[in-house]
């Protein structure tokens, strides 16, 4: 009987381990906080569209800067993806360029008279979209949505022409800018 109680106490004591470990600060390595789309062309100064959410999802709201394009003009659009969550700003664009066959950018105009085409290719000759050409038509007010897809099915129907419908994959970035053509 006595032995039994000792045994019980011993096992209880063994289990009263105190472990108050704090979680380590994780550095979200894949975070993209900022999208910068620079449209340059013709004689007009560059138009820079920006989406910034430096504290990631939640917290403070994102700031979105739209832009105004000239009617009936052609622009070259260069994209930049950044992680600005820490003071050590990381350029994610390089990572995307390195894994070009696993990424593709799609543009979509909402309510605007404009078209676009790919300007770059991945290693297998499929479009990538870090660089595109945008051609504006008549004046109007609307939006430009830029989507970055990770692991799209580039060979699926319409995908290499810039149709996102059959692309599959995961959306890494989907941002919408207010854009005016005048």
């Amino acid at each position: 009987m006595k032995n039994f109680i000792y045994l019980s106490l011993l096992a209880c004591a063994l289990t009263f381990t105190s472990c108050d470990d704090d979680p380590e600060v994780e550095n979200p390595e894949e975070l993209i906080t900022t999208v910068i789309a620079t449209l340059s062309g013709g004689d007009t100064p560059d138009v820079v569209l920006r989406f910034e959410d430096t504290d990631g999802d939640g917290g403070n709201e994102a700031t979105i800067t739209g832009g105004t394009l000239a009617a009936n003009s052609s622009y070259s659009l260069e994209l930049q993806f950044l992680d600005e969550s820490t003071s050590d700003v990381e350029d994610i664009t390089e990572e995307i360029a390195e894994e070009d066959d696993e990424h593709q950018v799609f543009l979509a105009f909402g309510g605007l008279n404009a078209t676009w085409t790919y300007n770059d290719q991945d290693g297998s000759g499929n479009p990538l979209g870090l660089s595109t050409t945008v051609t504006t038509g008549d004046a109007g007010t609307g939006t430009l949505t830029i989507t970055l897809i990770h692991e799209p099915e580039k060979s699926a129907s319409g995908v290499s022409e810039g149709d996102i419908t059959n692309a599959g994959g995961e959306t890494d970035v989907e941002v919408t800018f207010p854009v005016v053509i005048e």
């Binding site: 381990t17 990631g56 999802d57 939640g58 995961e170």
Partner: protein
């Protein structure tokens, strides 16, 4: 209690007939096989003597006779349709007459203690899956095994991830006991399957009543019990090897167990399981990246000292890697919209593959348990239990920059549990049980995932005391019990708003539970059982603190630190009728109110992130009502043809908002017709015994109580599945095998199930043929 045997056989060596024979091998062994509950003779029971390879069937009076058997050790196995196979070890010195009782009963409510000493349990309606049934479908995971019990359904994420839901309760609300120890891991996740190998179990049961108060964790209702049997006294090493192949997924499963129990020696049993399967297939296409690999082992040791001390030790390791359908990994709502439109999931390939890539889960669960039991006298005993669990869960997502091999979620949880229990029977018909439990959990995020943790680090101390008092006489049995729990949690988390600032919370929860039950035997054939239980549950860690994006759910999940305890009042009523020969019927109905029921509610907010907009879900509380019915009936149409019918339904309502609760199954009706060939069939030198052909059908109704606005798509249509199986014991020369062929979804129907989380993306499984064989030695 894990040390339970479910009385199958009582062996009585009645007498020795004649005097010892002169020669070594001219002994006669004869006997009668009888039904334990009715005493009726069992004809066509198959008796097999391993040493001589002799096998015969009993005649219409249950009688069998072997001539010219050798003296000495003898291993006899007895099979009869509807019974578990029974093995006996005999020392034959002279001609012997045996009376062997087999238990035919499917429903077992009372437990028998290891020494045969009776222990009263809380009155519960339970359903049992027997060892043979588990082994005849060894390709199935624990969740899928449980589905054969009425009232139990399964929440799935593809073929490999199956999580039971009993009477509408799952996850944090469902207690799973593995070997008498509450399974402790990341139960909160809808895609986190229980980390238990069903092939170690000799018995899986579901206590379906209002809840048992003996166990820590949720006492809201159902308890799922997975337990191995005690190791039978038998001087030789014995074991079995069971191999099966299933066509859907081209899966191989091999399980082996080996054991020995010599009188007064340490008894041991070792169990090993290995599984590998690849891409499963719907009726039309492969589900890419849905392979499963599993490697499990368990060791069980038992020893008794001086007839009063019993010590048993159990340790197990469960390791699995599960692929998740590649096409089910989506980014935002736009992606989900595309996926819902698509005919086939994205990334569907023409070819089958065994390879498992991201998204996938890598999960290990280890358990070690020791139990000491001391008898003070025949009516009084004490048990002490200590258990340690480690759960290591890694989940991998498709990520950029070669990070797919770095887990996106990595949680390590340690749990230690100690229990002290005292049991006594007094003044003839009273039984009293009291116990104390302490459970300690240490949950850690392992650094290096490159993601903000979905749930925080925490430690939890939980202490509980319980008692139970039972009075039973011949026809009436009453039981009352109560339980007190106190939980202290210390939590450290990074809020989403400022990932570098650590926030700490201290939580204290006290829970009180109470239960009262009455069981009345109206007659020899009818009985009813009524239970009333009051219980409460502390909010789960995910409900309080989860934060972030849930892959596959396409929503931002937010915990709520203001959540309060859930309080439940449940009453259950069950009635059973058995006419003693060809008709059995059981009905169980229950009504449960849960005040402050915690659920994930869409807030209506769309949060704009750089990956697009996501709906925000937040844990809130409401009042819920669950109303359910389980029916089960067995009808013997003739001696050879049996019919089994099962029906279950749950109606779950959110009373505050006047809406149905989501993720609750609808009506299910299953029926099975079994044709048993009682007489052994001889084909050349092969003998087929206990040949059974079963045709089954299940109808799953559409969950049409859920509104279209409560989900991304309307709930899937009703569907029917037909299955066929043939089982037999085959005697081939000196060896005996149990063999089986089963076909699921015989007509290769395309369907989607409401409880399968892949239903947004893909059809459910197509036809699957399983062939397997078990060899005992």
């Amino acid at each position: 209690m894990s040390n339970t045997i479910y009385g199958i056989v009582w062996l009585f060596v009645l007498s020795s007939l004649t005097t010892a024979a002169q020669e070594e091998c001219n002994t006669t062994i004869a006997g009668k096989i009888l039904d334990q509950s009715t005493g009726a003779a069992l004809s066509y029971a198959n008796v097999f003597i391993e040493e001589s390879g002799a096998g015969i069937s009993t005649d219409s009076t249950g009688f069998f006779l072997f001539k010219n058997q050798c003296r000495g050790h003898l291993h006899m196995s007895i099979t009869h349709i509807g019974c578990e196979e029974e093995y006996l070890h005999l020392e034959i010195e002279s001609d012997t007459l045996l009376a062997i009782y087999l238990n035919h009963t499917h429903h077992l409510i009372e437990e028998l203690d290891v020494t045969g000493r009776y222990e009263a349990v809380i009155l519960e309606e339970s359903s049992v899956i027997t060892s043979q049934k588990i082994k005849d479908r060894q390709d199935k995971s624990l969740g899928n095994q449980l589905e054969s019990i009425s009232g139990v359904r399964v929440i799935r994420k593809g073929a490999g991830l199956a999580k039971p839901i009993v009477h509408g309760l799952t996850g944090n609300r469902l207690t799973i006991l593995n070997n008498g120890i509450a399974q402790s891991g990341q139960q909160w996740g809808a895609d986190h399957a229980p980390e238990i190998d069903p092939l170690v179990a000799q018995k899986i049961s579901v206590l379906k009543g209002v809840g048992s108060l003996e166990y820590p964790g949720s006492n809201l209702g159902p308890v799922l019990v997975v337990e191995p049997s005690n190791i039978k006294l038998e001087p030789h090493i014995h074991g079995q090897i069971n191999y099966s192949f299933n066509t859907n997924g081209r899966g191989h499963t091999i399980n082996s167990s080996i054991q020995q129990h010599q009188e007064n020696q340490l008894a041991w049993r070792l169990n090993l399981t290995a599984k590998k399967s690849g891409d499963s297939k719907t009726a039309e296409y492969f589900l890419n990246n849905t392979g499963v690999q599993e490697l499990n082992a368990a060791l069980q040791l038992e020893k008794s000292y001086s007839d009063n001390w019993f010590i048993d030790f159990y340790t197990s390791t469960f390791n699995t890697e599960i692929g998740i359908l590649r096409g089910s990994l989506i980014g935002n709502l736009t992606d989900l919209g595309f996926a819902l439109e698509a005919e086939e999931p994205y990334y569907t390939e023409e070819n089958f593959s065994y390879s498992i890539n991201a998204p996938r889960q890598l999960v290990s669960h280890h358990l070690a348990k020791v139990q000491v039991k001391k008898y003070i006298d025949d009516d009084t005993w004490m048990t002490f239990k200590a258990a340690f669990q480690a759960n290591n869960r890694r989940e991998f997502d498709v990520r950029r920059g070669g990070r797919s091999t770095t887990p996106a979620l990595h949680l390590l949880q340690y749990t230690s549990f100690t229990e002290f229990k005292y049991h006594t029977n007094f003044s003839r018909d009273w039984a009293f049980k009291i116990g104390y439990q302490y459970n300690f959990i240490d949950n850690n995020n392992v650094a290096g995932t490159g993601n903000l943790p979905l749930i925080p680090n925490y430690v939890s101390h939980e202490q509980g005391i319980f008692f139970n008092l039972t009075k039973s006489n011949e026809r009436l049995e009453y039981s009352v019990g109560s339980r007190l729990d106190y939980r202290y949690q210390s939590v450290a988390t990074f809020p989403l708003s400022g990932p570098t600032e650590l926030v700490r919370y201290q939580n204290r929860f006290a829970n009180v539970s109470g239960i009262a039950g009455i069981k009345y035997l109206i007659s020899k054939r009818q009985s009813f059982l009524m239970n009333l239980g009051w219980a409460s549950r502390s909010p789960g860690i995910n409900e309080l603190y989860s934060q972030g994006l849930h892959q596959g759910v396409s929503g931002i999940e937010e915990g709520n630190i203001d959540l309060d305890i859930e309080r439940s009042l449940k009453t259950s009523f069950s009635y059973s009728y058995d006419n003693g020969s060809n008709f059995q019927f059981q009905a169980l109905s229950y009504l449960q109110y849960i005040d402050d029921y915690i659920y994930l509610n869409p807030t209506g907010e769309l949060r704009l992130t750089i990956r697009g907009s996501f709906p925000v879900f937040r844990y809130i509380q409401t009042d819920a009502r669950l109303l359910g019915l389980d029916l089960e009936s067995n009808i013997k149409i003739t001696e050879q043809i049996h019919l089994e019918l099962k029906y279950s339904n749950v109606i779950a309502d959110d009373l505050d908002r006047d809406l149905a609760i989501i993720d609750i199954p609808s009506h299910k009706l299953s029926s099975s017709i079994q044709y048993e060939v009682a007489k052994a069939i001889e084909l050349r030198k092969t003998r087929f015994e206990n040949l059974k052909i079963e045709l089954n059908h299940e109808y799953n109704a559409r969950q049409n109580r859920v509104l279209d606005s409560q989900d991304f798509t309307p709930t899937p249509d009703a569907y029917s599945l037909v299955g066929l199986s043939v089982t037999s014991n085959i005697l081939l020369g000196n060896q005996r095998f149990r063999s089986y062929i089963s076909i699921d979804n015989l007509f290769n129907v395309s369907y989607r199930d409401y409880l399968n989380r892949l239903r947004y993306f893909a059809d459910d499984l197509g036809r699957n043929i399983v062939v397997g064989s078990k060899w005992s030695f």
